[in-house]
């Protein structure tokens, strides 16, 4: 495949982008059909509401404020997505991001509410908690070959109930929620650095948001430009070859999951130290943030930069769902749409395969030569990884 390869359509990055967009469109379409089934008269209005999200508010200032709210929740989602993405680059499926997120939330709230620590300490502790959870999975994987999905899921629940227990002493008397960070220990709140003012005086908009984007870029740099990233990706693509070339594949596995855990843990403090949400100590299901992170990762074409946009999109329609007329539609409808989109993400590889065969067919029709002697290739090979950049 020497010639014509520079055309836009055969560019893997563009293909991934196109595939993600197709997933989104089809997902929205199916969501719309579901809305039609529930209530044909209000379906169009419903889907528009979801898509408009904060734009429902006419005035610029109010819209900005609610855009801020969406962004506040995008930051932790992005961090979870980056956690999944980082581990995936090393061939590990970090479904434990949800538990690492929980661990991070637990320790940062404990530090903020019980120990009355300032925010930088809380941030670091949330990373340590997440990293510890990730490392447990990593050690089990590296030395006992325990599947990281199994140990990750089990740790999710261990994390949830441990955190519920640990935070019960600092819950509000009248509600299952932990005390507000803003009232108990304002020094633990993340600084807004004037960002709140831009977003219609939204005090929840903090440095967390630019920080999350910065970390995404950083992850990309680490994975693609550094020796560490070279090792991690080699380990992920072929563990045996990594070992053969003298890389410490066990250490790398543990380190990868620890870093992934730290990212997810940090994500939790990005949300809870903004004061936007409080932890409910009676919740009996693992927060969906970590799982949505998986979705955002795949929708983002497994690329840190793509993940920024996909995280925002998923949060955008999730927030949009909350504006739906509750009397007509359940709020979960936006979860349903994002679920469908995520489901379709599985077709990204298929979609790219489809494009490639079409290109090949067209090229064959025009030129008949271009004979490159190669091993019989398995046609699906180049679809193995999503948006892998050169």
């Amino acid at each position: 495949m020497k010639k014509n390869n520079k055309s836009l359509l055969s560019n893997p990055g563009f293909q991934t982008l196109l595939a993600s967009l197709v997933c989104i469109v089809v997902g929205l379409l199916v969501g719309y059909i579901v809305l039609l089934i529930i209530n044909p008269a209000k379906a169009t209005e419903g889907i528009v509401t979801i898509l408009k999200n904060f734009l429902t508010y006419g005035s610029g200032k109010a819209a900005m404020k609610y855009l801020g709210n969406t962004l506040v929740k995008t930051a932790p989602l992005l961090m979870c997505a980056l956690s999944v993405q980082f581990c995936y680059s090393a061939g590990l499926f970090n479904i434990g991001a949800a538990g690492q997120y929980v661990a991070g939330a637990g320790l940062c709230l404990y530090a903020a509410l019980v120990l009355k620590m300032p925010w930088p300490v809380c941030l670091i502790l949330s990373m340590i908690a997440g990293a510890a959870f990730g490392a447990v999975v990593g050690v089990l994987k590296a030395y006992r070959n325990v599947n990281e999905v199994i140990s990750g899921i089990m740790l999710n629940w261990i994390g949830l109930y441990t955190v519920n227990m640990a935070l019960t002493p600092v819950k509000e008397t009248a509600s299952p929620y932990t005390q507000a960070v803003a009232t108990v220990n304002p020094s633990a709140l993340l600084p807004t650095m004037g960002l709140g003012a831009i977003f219609g005086n939204n005090k929840y908009v903090t440095i967390a948001i630019p920080l999350a984007v910065l970390i995404a870029v950083l992850i990309w740099v680490v994975l693609n430009k550094t020796v560490f990233g070279y090792e991690l990706r080699a380990t992920g693509l072929n563990k045996e070859a990594a070992k053969y070339s003298g890389m410490k594949e066990k250490t790398n596995t543990i380190l990868t999951l620890a870093i992934g855990g730290a990212l997810a843990g940090l994500g939790a403090s990005f949300l809870f130290l903004s004061g936007f949400e409080q932890w409910s100590v009676t919740q009996s299901s693992v927060p969906t943030m970590g799982f949505n992170g998986i979705a955002a990762t795949f929708l983002g074409g497994l690329h840190p930069i793509g993940t920024i946009f996909s995280s925002y999109f998923i949060q955008h329609i999730t927030s949009g769902g909350s504006y739906l007329d509750k009397a007509v539609f359940p709020a979960q409808i936006s979860d349903l749409i994002s679920a469908i989109i995520i489901y379709l993400c599985g077709f990204v590889a298929f979609f790219r395969y489809f494009i490639n065969t079409q290109i090949a067919k067209r090229r064959r029709d025009t030129a008949n030569s271009n004979d490159v002697p190669i091993n019989t290739p398995a046609p699906a090979d180049n679809n193995k990884k999503g948006g892998d950049e050169k």
Partner: protein, 511 residues
Amino acid sequence: MSEYAIEMLNITKRFPGIIANDNITLQLRKGEIHALLGENGAGKSTLMSVLFGMYQPEEGVIKKDGKEVKINNPNDANDLGIGMVHQHFMLVQCFTVLDNIILGAETTQYGVLQKDEARRKVTELSEKYGLKVDLDAKIEDITVGMQQRTEILKMLYRDNEILIFDEPTAVLTPAEIDDLMVIMKNLSAEGKSILFISHKLNEIMTVADRCSVLRRGKYIGTVDIKDTTQEELSRMMVGRDVSLKVDKTPAHPGEEVLRVENMSVASKRGSKMAVNNVSFNVRAGEIVCIAGIDGNGQSELVYGLSGLEPLASGKITLKGKDITNSSIRERSVSGLSHIPEDRHKHGLVLDYSLEYNMILQRYFSPDFSNGAGFLKRPEIRSFSEKLIDQFDVRSGEGPVTIVRSMSGGNQQKAIIARELEKNPELLIAVQPTRGLDVGAIEYIHRQLIAQRDAGKAVLLVSLELEEVLGVPDRILVMYEGEIVGEFDPKKTTREELGLYMAGARKEGHTA
């Protein structure tokens, strides 16, 4: 009735970017042994996949007994009486031979297995064709040769008329190869039509009636074996004259580079030692070859030397330095290069670019990364361009080519380039020519000898007798984890080596 059992006429199969089969015609006469010869990547496997319905050709037809047939999946092929002995056997390890033969074609009554009838039929078949097997032995306990006979019986039990052997001799001892040749002749004498896929010219000359040659996806021609020579076949296969003889001058061994004393490596399976108390040395300026049938501890020996597996006991010294407990990287840095047995498993990160694979063991060195931990990409690029140029590694897009898309021969060249560029004291090359065509084999042999002549030590592990007799200066035969004999390639014969490799003979050996 047609004179052909199966005909594949003008088959064309394309994949994105390449034409794997370009207008190929293959006609298998009834009762003949027809060899299919071609280099790796010539399109043999694709053609067989088309015959078994795993791929649908864009053009061309398949005829059985002169009638056009449509083969959509392997079951269709089975129904047409086409059976195949795969290179890697498809047997259930913990089942008996009989169970494996009847698996999928069991005779039952009210859902209960009726093995007596099957046993009678299999016994009859094995006597008729001289296929000696122990029906009640478990696959894991029998020799590779018997496993292969089990596979052949599987085809016969299903009344297959067209038998395909995919490189069947790769795993056999010389004596077993001779047996197989006899079996194949018996089968064809009984009217079975045999397609024999191979790139071993001497075997084709021995057993086949006709031979079709493919090269780079194209059909080159079909010749009668009695009217041709090995040289002609190799010319058809490669497209140019190749020397089948290895040219080299006598070795001038210098000081000892590798010393292995009483080395043992545990087996992955069971409690036996895969390598049992082995001692030998390799000197500068000589090529020592470990010969043996696959699975007699050669792989584990190399794992032990390269550090991929820990030693159970023993000592390894490289240039006077004890490396018994050194890490893989320490060994690599102290001058050990390793061309691994399995280039896809160990040798390459297939989804990495060629340039990234070229620095696989050296990415951390100051040449390719800076103090801050960033890769020096321009240096990596120019380094790999130099290697690509020097070793003539061919690929679609040069340094940025994803290695997976390269041909097996060029992948191997990339590994060899990388390992030789390290300028090692000791080069361990494990089956470096496996699966490669004659042209590439010639190239690799020359590189090994060039290393030797440059005063390096080379340890070659090989299963191919041609290579064992042609390339090295000393031969060590391994059998069941032990070195059972040392030979001078100029003074030994295939037959003698074969006896030692099969464990029929053994000598008291000291390093």
